[in-house]
């Protein structure tokens, strides 16, 4: 009999690493699938900031696949994911994370993938009770059902707490060699990782996407409010990860580089946004998101100057450049701290 074939949803965290290993050890041919929503936490976007340069630059999903010796298919779902994020049927978690809809969507995509590639079942690293929104006893069948995967979805780490799936009934995997983990306690997973000799895995508690981050989520909500419409493009997602975001007026916000790495990164967007750079001293590069008149631009220049080396000078010289190429040099007084309003910080 030829080997059963499974595709495993690889997030790059410990749970999917273990679930895959457990299944492979039962003789199943496993390949990995990783979905890129645009919000995934990536070492490289951290690397935008110079101070983070010492961190290892690695994509954890690729690392997991390489550790296990399996193929990894990375799928770009940025466009399709917009509807998941903007209209989640099951709502949001603590922040802008639509975890349950996200899981359903990803398993649904995996189901399509196994149909196209003649695979037998899908595995995930889900554990009952691990996460308050998507990994509860009640949500497990919801994911199976609404994704269309039904009993082709196996969760090897908590399978013993759930009804037997097709993979168990067909004998592709032995149920008694699967696990019955539950709850938020991660000790069993850590012990299993140790047993397998996995040491360098990504932080077990680490979230897999920026949408679970409170600061990121509030910037996203602010972006929609500022534009009066709930939509986004890839550039928006990226820019929300970078710089100080300051909205002194409802019609525009500033994205101010915090150090050289970010300034350089923002430089790449200079043709699509109005920008401000310091001339008479060193300082940040600022992009303006929104529509500004001359008075707005002057205020933005004064705020930028406040974060420059010349913040204590009487005046500093800045250059502003609009997207139509119109460039202006002006002398402005850096905005005093006392006039920087706390609520401007997004």
């Amino acid at each position: 009999m030829s080997k059963a074939k499974a595709v495993s949803l690889i997030s790059g965290g410990l749970d999917s690493l273990l679930a895959t290993k457990v299944t492979m050890d039962q003789g199943v041919h496993v390949e990995g699938i990783n979905f890129f929503t645009g919000f995934c936490v990536e070492g490289h976007t951290h690397a935008i900031r110079k101070k983070d340069k010492a961190r290892p630059k690695r994509n954890n999903a690729l690392w997991v696949a390489e550790t296990l010796g399996i193929k990894l298919h990375i799928i770009d779902i940025v466009e399709e994911y917009k509807d998941v994020l903007l209209n989640p049927k099951h709502g949001y978690g603590a922040n802008m994370n639509p975890c349950l809809d996200c899981k359903i969507f990803m398993v649904h995509k995996a189901q399509q993938w196994i149909e196209e590639n003649n695979f037998d079942f899908i595995i995930t690293g889900e554990v009952i009770g691990q996460r308050p929104m998507s990994q509860r006893k009640e949500t497990m069948p919801v994911i199976s059902r609404e994704s269309g995967a039904d009993d082709r979805l196996l969760r090897p780490l908590c399978a013993q707490n759930l009804p037997a799936t097709l993979a168990e009934r067909e004998g592709w995997v032995k149920r008694d060699e699967l696990y019955g983990f539950s709850g938020r306690n991660r000790k069993p997973q850590m012990a299993l990782a140790k047993e397998f000799g996995f040491t360098d895995y990504a932080s077990p508690a680490g979230g897999c996407c920026f949408l679970t981050d409170e600061n990121y989520s509030s910037k996203l909500v602010d972006l929609w409010k500022g534009r009066g419409v709930r939509e986004y493009e890839m550039d928006d997602i990226m820019l929300l990860k970078v710089g100080r975001h300051i909205r002194p007026n409802p019609n525009f916000k500033l994205i101010i580089g915090r150090e050289d790495g970010e300034n350089k990164f923002l430089q790449g967007y200079k043709n699509s946004y109005t920008s401000i750079k310091m001339i008479s001293c060193s300082g940040p590069l600022t992009l303006i998101d929104g529509v500004t008149n001359d008075a707005d631009l002057e205020l933005a220049a004064r705020i930028t100057a406040r974060f420059s080396q010349g913040k204590n000078e009487e005046t500093v010289t800045v250059e502003t450049k609009r997207t139509n190429g119109e460039t202006k040099t002006m002398d402005v007084k850096p905005l005093p701290v006392s006039e920087m309003q706390q609520e401007w910080y997004v």
Partner: protein
């Protein structure tokens, strides 16, 4: 055997990897592909993806803020 180029400038990882993966699907064994990126993370990720999926990285170089990864497509990919 032909040579191809993939422009992955201004993309952030994992997009250059995804584009490499999708491009390689259209190529044949023995073809070579230069992937040109501006995210230095590609220097790590494209070779990792190639190791996993059985392709060979012939060369990587950094030139004027750009990263070029030269890949040879292999048969059993």
């Amino acid at each position: 055997m032909a040579h191809f180029e993939l422009d992955a400038r201004r993309m952030f990882c994992p997009m250059p990897v995804i584009r490499t993966q999708d491009k390689i699907k259209e190529l044949s064994a023995g073809d070579t592909l230069d992937v040109i990126c501006t995210d230095p993370g590609a220097l790590h990720d494209i070779p990792a993806w190639c190791r996993i999926n059985g392709h060979i990285v012939l060369q990587t170089k950094e030139l004027n803020d750009e990263v070029i990864v030269k890949v040879e497509v292999c048969i059993d990919a």
